[in-house]
Symmetry: C2
Amino acid sequence: MGNQMTEMLKGTLEGIVLAILARRSAYGYEITAWLRDRGFSDIAEGTIYALLVRVEQRGFVDVEKVPSEKGPPRKVYSINAKGRDQLAEFWRTWTVLAERIEQLHHTDNQQDQGA
Amino acid sequence: MGNQMTEMLKGTLEGIVLAILARRSAYGYEITAWLRDRGFSDIAEGTIYALLVRVEQRGFVDVEKVPSEKGPPRKVYSINAKGRDQLAEFWRTWTVLAERIEQLHHTDNQQDQGA
DNA sequence: CCTCGCTATTAAGCGTCGCTAGCTACCGGT
DNA sequence: ACCGGTAGCTAGCGACGCTTAATAGCGAGG
């Protein structure tokens, strides 16, 4: 929807997908559907594929081609050790940023309750 | 520092600066120093100025030129009504995203405590 | 005097990211 | 034969933050 969310997803979407893959392996179409179910309905379809290509090239995931009963073969992505390191780094950065912003949010609300 | 933080700041830095201006008016150099004090030490100097130009062009802030005792005149930015609307929208988007990501964080931690 | 350093702002060019739009391809049902 | 759902790929775009360099005013020190 809003481009506000679009800009905010930059830098976080990769972490989101890695977090999903940390729970279980999945393929692009599946991840997109999963995100839509979870309320990330504003994420464009093609974005996930491009992101998966990127994380594969960086060596954060392993790929396995699996034939599908209904449609072209799926590319199933599994997070690997390097990917888990990256994910941990993502959570560290996220936590730091979220805490700082939350502090701002509180002081902001003290002045502007009508937010 | 890390480009991880750099990417995450995309979309959030504007909200951060608007939140600062919601507390009190300020000029670029001052904001940069303030951010450095508050732990946002990884934000580049020039970035804030470019951002301020942007929010001014979008009409989120009013500007007043004030002579400085030591150096060239300062451009003091004040948030206006439109800017407060934008800030409120920012907090809405931020809250939604932060909640979704936090949910992922919990389920992620259940599997991978050793992050 | 002239340079150094601090204050303060501006601008050009770069890389990364998510989005848009369109395409390929496989399969089953009508 | 056609269409819709499944599944993936890609080129080009705009937005954002970073890097780097330039400009400019002012005070202190050589």
